[in-house]
């Protein structure tokens, strides 16, 4: 494969079987390796689509400043593209994210504004919205409400999966901005009758849910629950256990959110096997494990890892 530049090398990621973790020959698991994107995560697709859309409609002009609330991967993707296209990038990021994410953002020349740990990404979103009002010349791409985020997956992730696995019965991915699930899910529903779209949502430690009241809660504007079939909440312990299992049994070194996705995928696979159905379950590996080595997720006992992740935004 040959590409004109790194940005052009986005997508077309491998789909690999998980023969050891699959319950049987009739119920098979397949992993879409999104860590094989230009900056190492699925977010490259959304970031590139959002920037291209903003360039097309004239919102982004040379020298512009981009502002984005992000817990990491979207920021890293935007930072790479911003550097190549000549934009400034300011990321509003919760302070309880891994040090590697901050190091990568700084390496790409992005500025970071830290938001308080309590309240997690909700606070980062609120802070970015305030900053956007104070600085009308800054361009907030706003991954939580930008249709180009979901469109990236409708136009690329979905068609790639259908091309490589026409017999897909289940698609399982992480739920954050909801862009991956909305775009891929809509495409697959239009082409595969009865396909199940399954969300795995990280359940963090209590600090992250430290809102002052329920009215401060947040549901991304992109979210349309009718696209999903089911939605599971996965805690740090299950996520870490599955992350380790994935590298031990299949050799895939993935980030912690992928462990949560694998946990949900194994759940639906076992259900299908128990019901005597045939199933091809495609799960999305959102990123590699490199950015999370410092979190303590990969060493020591599960309890150590769970304690180490308490209070961190690990997905």
């Amino acid at each position: 494969m040959r590409y004109r530049s790194l940005v052009e090398a986005v997508g077309d990621t491998p789909l690999v079987g998980l023969p050891t973790l699959s319950p049987s020959d009739d119920v098979r698991l397949w992993a879409k390796l999104e860590d094989r994107n230009p900056t190492g995560s699925v977010k490259d697709r959304a970031a590139i689509w959002m920037i291209r859309a903003a360039e097309r409609d004239g919102r982004l002009r040379p020298g512009a400043t981009i502002l984005e609330p992000t817990s990491g991967n979207t920021g890293i993707s935007l930072a790479m593209v911003a550097q190549l296209h000549g934009y400034e990038l300011i990321c509003v990021m919760p302070e309880n994210t891994s040090i590697e994410r901050r190091q990568l953002l700084e390496m790409y020349g992005a500025k970071i504004i830290l938001s308080p740990a309590a309240g997690g990404s909700n606070q980062a979103v609120a802070m970015a919205k305030e900053l956007a009002e104070e600085h009308p010349d800054w361009v907030m791409l706003y991954q939580y409400g930008n249709p180009a985020n979901a469109m990236a997956h409708y136009e690329t992730t979905g068609p790639e999966i259908l091309r490589d696995m026409p017999t897909i019965t289940h698609f399982v991915a992480g739920l954050g901005t909801t862009g991956t699930l909305m775009g891929t899910g809509r495409f697959l529903r239009e082409h595969v009758p009865g396909v199940q779209i399954v969300a795995a949502e990280p359940r963090y430690g209590e600090l992250v849910y430290g809102l002052r009241n329920v009215e401060e809660g947040f549901v991304p504007e992109l979210y349309d629950p009718s696209v999903l079939t089911s939605r599971y909440s996965v805690g740090a312990k299950d996520a870490v256990r599955r992350t380790r299992q994935l590298v031990e049994t299949e050799g895939i070194f993935a980030g912690i959110s992928t462990g949560a996705i694998l946990h949900a995928a194994l759940g639906v696979a076992e259900k299908a096997a128990g019901a005597g159905q045939q199933a091809d379950v495609v799960l999305l590996v959102a990123d590699g494990g490199w950015k999370y080595l410092s979190t303590g997720a990969y060493g020591g006992t599960l309890e150590d890892a769970e304690n180490a992740l308490e209070g961190q935004l690990w997905a």
Partner: protein, 91 residues
């Protein structure tokens, strides 16, 4: 029929600071009524006046979001675990 219910930090003022409480009910709706009898005011924070789950509240039975299993009509059995969480942003 005892069902363990995990209460988020922002609603613990209704449970005297308890992280986890027990309640009874064969459906989520009846469980919430029982919770409200034991911890008055809690229902008003979970369910809106029109009788649906509050937009910014997520409820899970054994880790599955009840909005995909019948919402307040979701059935419950002895030993189920119910988790209540406010909706937060990811990404």
């Amino acid at each position: 029929m005892a069902i363990a219910v995990r209460i988020p930090t922002i609603l613990r003022n209704y449970t005297g600071g308890e992280k986890q409480v027990e309640a009874n009910g064969s459906s989520l709706a009846s469980l919430i009524d029982d919770l409200d009898a034991k911890h008055p005011g809690l229902k008003g924070r979970l369910v809106t006046d029109d009788g649906s789950l509050h937009r910014f509240v997520n409820v899970y039975v054994n880790d599955e979001d009840v909005r995909f299993t019948g919402a307040l009509d979701t059935g419950l059995s002895d030993g189920d675990e119910v988790t209540i969480l406010p909706a937060v942003a990811g990404g």
